[in-house]
């Protein structure tokens, strides 16, 4: 599998690896994918209640280099965006940025699911 420099860079230096307190009302958590499919992403965001801006994001990913890179990139992209803006991030944006080959497109879909899942979890927690 030939990877672009960006995928390799995210693989070698993944951004924002870690965990946030899933029990906090300001934190939204998503766990997407399945071990049998070879990809699992845990994606967490911390949101400012006042401004609805995502001020922190963390991830952990079990999966191939593209899956790691897609989720790492997603943490970078959501930070500083409002919840509504982050909802607008599309998997095709990730494919483009990382030049993912067709067979790796599902990694970007999973990252999009992860972003939306974490936002939905936050909204649900706060009755929105």
């Amino acid at each position: 599998m030939a990877y672009t420099g960006k995928v390799v860079d995210h693989y070698e230096n993944p951004r924002n690896v870690g965990s946030l307190d899933a029990s906090s009302a300001q934190v939204g958590t998503a766990l997407v994918g399945a071990p049998e499919c070879g990809d699992v992403m845990k994606f967490q965001i911390e949101i400012d209640d006042e401004t609805q801006v995502i001020k922190n994001a963390k991830f952990k990913t079990f999966g191939c280099g593209s899956a790691i890179a897609s989720s790492s990139l997603a943490t970078e992209w959501v930070m500083g965006k409002t919840v509504d803006e982050a909802m607008g991030i599309k998997n095709t944006d990730i494919v483009k940025e990382l030049s993912l080959p067709p067979i790796k497109i599902h990694c970007s879909v999973l990252a999009e699911d992860a972003i939306r899942g974490a936002i939905r979890d936050y909204l649900k927690k706060n009755g929105k």
């Binding site: 599998m1 990877y3 390799v8 693989y11 993944p14 690896v17 965990s19 766990l31 997407v32 994918g33 399945a34 071990p35 049998e36 499919c37 070879g38 990809d39 699992v40 992403m41 845990k42 952990k60 990913t61 079990f62 999966g63 191939c64 280099g65 593209s66 899956a67 790691i68 067979i103 790796k104 599902h106 879909v109 999973l110 699911d113 899942g117």
Partner: protein, 213 residues
């Protein structure tokens, strides 16, 4: 040995590529084969076509060399293979050898490193030429069907790597590989949500996964 048919490849024994041999049992009972290639009736009609003499000579010489050194060489390679497996086991938890522990060819070791996906593991060990039983390396997204049929579960099949040792593998290279494997697995387990869940005492089988089919 109770063999009906047995095929041999030149390249598997450090001989030339593109040449091999087929053993066909002659009696008790005789194995009858229908040819796939027709023409001049070469090789008793079983495989027509002009014979590749240089490759045949090369293959013959390779089998001669094999006969001379096979027993010791197999012992040496098995020793290195065991050294590799012991080194992996003593450095990492949750690692599994796929296939039979002793009834296997001496130069092969197939290991599942739980909670770490095989392709990402290969990506972190560019110095090692290994192959992955997981999907992502090939054009298919399915893990190796061989692993599946020998009883490896699908989640563990995604975490497997195949190590091949050979005539030119040294103990130093094996030790280098062990170090490299250890470092990369530990790095990726730090990144693995599955490892984190297990550390927290969660049974992964109890989790409802949102898979995309």
């Amino acid at each position: 040995m109770g063999i009906d048919l047995m095929s041999f490849s030149g390249h598997k024994i450090y001989g030339p590529k593109g040449i091999g041999a087929l053993y066909v049992r002659r009696k008790n009972p005789r194995v009858r084969l229908a040819p796939l290639i027709f023409g001049g009736g070469h090789e008793r009609g079983m495989r027509s076509g002009t014979l590749n003499v240089p490759a045949i000579v090369g293959f013959g010489r390779a089998t001669e060399l094999l006969k001379e050194g096979m027993v010791e060489e197999n012992l040496r390679i098995a020793g290195l293979r065991d050294r590799l497996w012991k080194g992996i086991q003593s450095n990492l938890d949750e690692v599994y050898c796929n296939g039979h522990p002793t009834e296997r060819i001496t130069n092969n070791l197939n290991v599942s490193f739980a909670f770490v996906e095989g392709e990402s593991l290969m990506m972190g060990m560019k110095e090692l030429a290994v192959s992955s039983g997981s999907a992502c390396t090939s054009s298919s997204l399915e893990p190796s069907y061989v692993l599946k049929y020998i009883g490896v579960t699908e989640d563990l099949a995604h975490t497997s790597l195949r190590f091949g040792l050979g005539r030119f593998t040294t103990a130093e290279e094996v030790d280098f590989a062990i170090e490299k494997i250890k470092k990369t697995v530990l790095k990726l387990r730090d990144l693995s949500p599955l490892y984190e869940l297990v550390q927290q005492g969660v049974d992964l089988k109890s989790v409802t996964w949102q898979s995309h089919g």
